[in-house]
Symmetry: C2
Subunit: 468 residues, 2 copies
């Protein structure tokens, strides 16, 4: 007898499984071990088992699954690399999870058009490996080797967004399977268009709640002729942020401009046995001609000196560049090592850059007051920063403190004209802030969801807060 | 007695006028002379009189009008500078036209954030005039001194999109009045966000069919330290396009790269008494440091020489730059002068740049075959080109020929992976191509329209083709 909503969905899912099992055979799995594998992502959100995992290999197969799920009103979630940070691929309501692994081919590279057409499970490193000898590269770099479909679905960005844009700017077109099994292409391959509603941007960042991405056309850039890197510690966060602001105002096309705070620099020294100055530090990278990357670094050095950046080091050769940036790359491990028994809770907010120093300083003060451990790194060019909360989940008091701090940080960012997430997405972790962030606009989001997924089968329970 | 749909709307509009007249007084006009003034734009589309014109001065006043129109199911259209090229602001179904003239204030400039908050009737030149001493500028330049609200509504772009992006990339957030009078803000002022559906991009390019834009937050750039300009004729269109492709592939951050075809160069010589080589010609502009703009021009010169670009001239001083670019600026007048009794029919398509030469050459051949006059200019960096059809509207045969040619050009662009309009928008002139361009995706556009404007009062008859 069906007694709960979860059991109801499981029973409906059984119908879907029955309907699909002949076609999919061993590609449709209900074994617990497989379901467990697809129950979690990199976040601390509680894993949930889907009712089945189906490995799809084509748009037609995605259609087949979605059509069956639509018929039986069963939730469907696409799962890429599982590197989401807000639980976006966790099947919180059960239903079917799509294992996209087999949709991992680069389909076309248009050298002259600077674009590539890929299947959604191609990862960003895989694409760049493929492009290695073409003179082109794909720019968006969120850290993890995420799938490009997942990156589009969560509107990912990363360290070089300040120069090349986020997924918002780098997805030219997508093929999407809608909730009723229809297949659409969101746009033509042309670089720009003024022909109709911008469906590409509607699906970028929709976190699987409007449809399943089955193909992407991505913007590429020419590999820079030369790269230079620089590192510069500052007495205060304000000086580092001011340097970022003036660098951008001056039109210096900085490729990366990352802030690592003093707590993080301490963590790195402790972890790597290095002796960096334990102050807020900017890590920079410049792309361009050999002449230009030299000039760019020199210009930033002058700006930094005006704002308390005293020990500006820069390098052109790959090995020297890597040495300079090593600390930034070690951050993930170094942070975790501060409190080995902790789980990492990575979160981010983004504010107008003029309010960034204020937001960081106040958040840092709050962390100290609460005696929490939380290294901080920022994509300062975008006004975006990450907090890596190290929380001992055995300690409920600490967990509570961390939750309260997190909420205060988000509300602080909103009060400063910012957003509750710059790049991690909403998923499960930021749902409760969407009303505060968007107000009446949230009702428009509900209308769109209702129009395109009236049965609420596409990744239900994510992004949009549950209606009261 | 009401006998036609048009009369029905007029009768309903009378109710709205009655309801609003006390509040708006002389700001609500039904005089024929005023209605005529707001009945047309710069296109050749047939003017249509709205039932009334109401001058609004605030978001609250826009709400008031839209709420009344919603109550009586009366169409409402926002009118900015009337510089649209596809009839976007023509009240084809009658109803009320909003005269936005009074909403023309620059509200805030955030120097450090590189953004400005403006009312929708601020024009792009007005904003740049306002910014003159700030070291910042607003980049999007469609030629006409259009209102920024209108530019956002039509997803305008222009000559320097290749470097700075179109309205798609340069609108950070908007305030919009919806069909039922609700007011939303599409996004926060932060540079990026992963929090919810991208409503900003949904409203950019929606041509007033989903809501009325009442405020915009726009991205600004630092004024470049130096500008250089260059001009180079090519034996063939292919060489010019190849030069554009390799320039972009090389990562040279060219600010403008315009193609003027041989017919246009002839027209310019005839009009201005100049003696330019009558060949396809590239007009370029470079922004950057003094060193960098020199280097950029030199690099392009080398590329151009590889592709039959023989007489590369470049200049740094403002007066020399203006002399070099003069021909490009004279195009509008020179074209018209070719056939003084003609009306100008300006249209555009956009294709992947790899197919641009082919699309241009075949279209040019088609024009010659039909013995039509149609100078052509292209934003080649974007794969976008414009045809300026000079048509004697007294000659029905010529009008027919031009219409057929226009249709063939659009279908050719679509067949090459392109779009029916890169920057002019759909309005009335491109509606019939949306099905061919978008296929099933068009049904998603209808769903969105239905969800946000169920009564179809927001600029009805535009963009989306009439359902059969």
């Amino acid at each position: 007898m069906v007694t709960t909503a979860r059991q109801y969905i499981a029973a409906q899912a059984d119908q879907v499984i029955l309907e699909l099992s002949e076609y999919f055979g061993s590609h449709l799995q209900t074994k617990r071990a497989i379901r467990e594998q697809f129950s979690r992502d990199e976040s601390a959100h509680t894993p949930v088992l889907p009712d089945a995992v189906v490995a799809v290999a084509s748009t037609e197969e995605v259609c087949r699954v979605v059509t069956a799920c639509s018929h039986w009103q069963v939730p469907v979630v696409a799962y890429g690399t599982g590197t989401a940070l807000e639980g976006q691929a966790i099947a919180v309501a059960g239903g079917l999870t799509l294992d996209m692994s087999a949709m991992n081919r680069v389909l076309e590279v248009h050298q002259d058009d600077l674009d590539a057409v890929v299947q959604p499970r191609v990862t960003r490193r895989q694409l760049n490996e493929y492009l290695k000898d073409s003179g082109l590269f794909f720019s968006v770099d969120p850290g993890a080797d995420a799938s490009l479909g997942g990156m589009a679905a969560t509107r990912a960005s990363g360290t070089n967004t300040v120069r090349y844009g986020s997924m918002r700017e780098n997805v030219l077109s997508m093929e999407v399977v809608l909730a009723d099994g229809r297949v659409i292409r969101t746009s033509r391959r042309a670089r720009k268009s003024a022909a109709g509603y911008d469906l590409t941007h509607l699906f970028v960042g929709s976190e699987g709640t409007l449809g399943i991405i089955t193909e992407l056309t991505l913007r590429l850039f020419g590999q820079p002729e030369a790269i230079s890197a620089a590192v510069c510690p500052f007495a205060e966060v304000e000086g580092a942020v001011r340097t970022a602001i003036e660098t951008i105002q001056s039109g210096i096309p900085v490729a990366r401009i990352e802030l690592v705070d003093d707590v993080s620099m301490q963590a790195i020294n402790r972890y790597s046995g290095t002796d960096y100055v334990e102050q807020p530090t900017l890590f920079l990278e410049f792309h361009g001609s050999a002449k230009s990357v030299r000039e760019q670094a020199q210009m930033v050095q002058v700006i930094a000196a005006d704002h308390g950046g005293s020990d500006f080091q820069w390098a052109l050769k790959p090995e020297d560049r890597h040495r300079l940036w090593r600390a930034r790359h070690d951050m993930a491990y170094a942070g975790k090592a501060l409190l080995p028994q902790s789980r990492i809770w990575a979160t981010d907010v983004c504010v107008p850059i003029s309010r960034l120093a204020e937001c960081i300083v106040e958040t840092r003060r709050d962390i100290q007051r609460e005696k929490l451990l939380a290294p901080m790194v920022g994509h300062v060019g975008d006004g975006n920063f990450h907090l890596v909360l190290l929380v001992d989940h055995q300690d409920p008091k600490q967990v509570n403190k961390a939750q309260d701090l997190h909420e205060r940080m988000v509300m602080r960012a909103l009060a400063l004209g910012g957003t509750c997430t710059g790049e991690h997405g909403v998923g499960l972790g930021k749902k409760d802030f969407l009303q505060a962030e968007h107000g009446e606009a949230l009702s428009v989001m509900y209308s769109i969801k209702q129009a395109l997924d009236p049965q609420n089968i596409m990744n239900p329970g994510k992004m949009l807060p549950d209606r009261q």
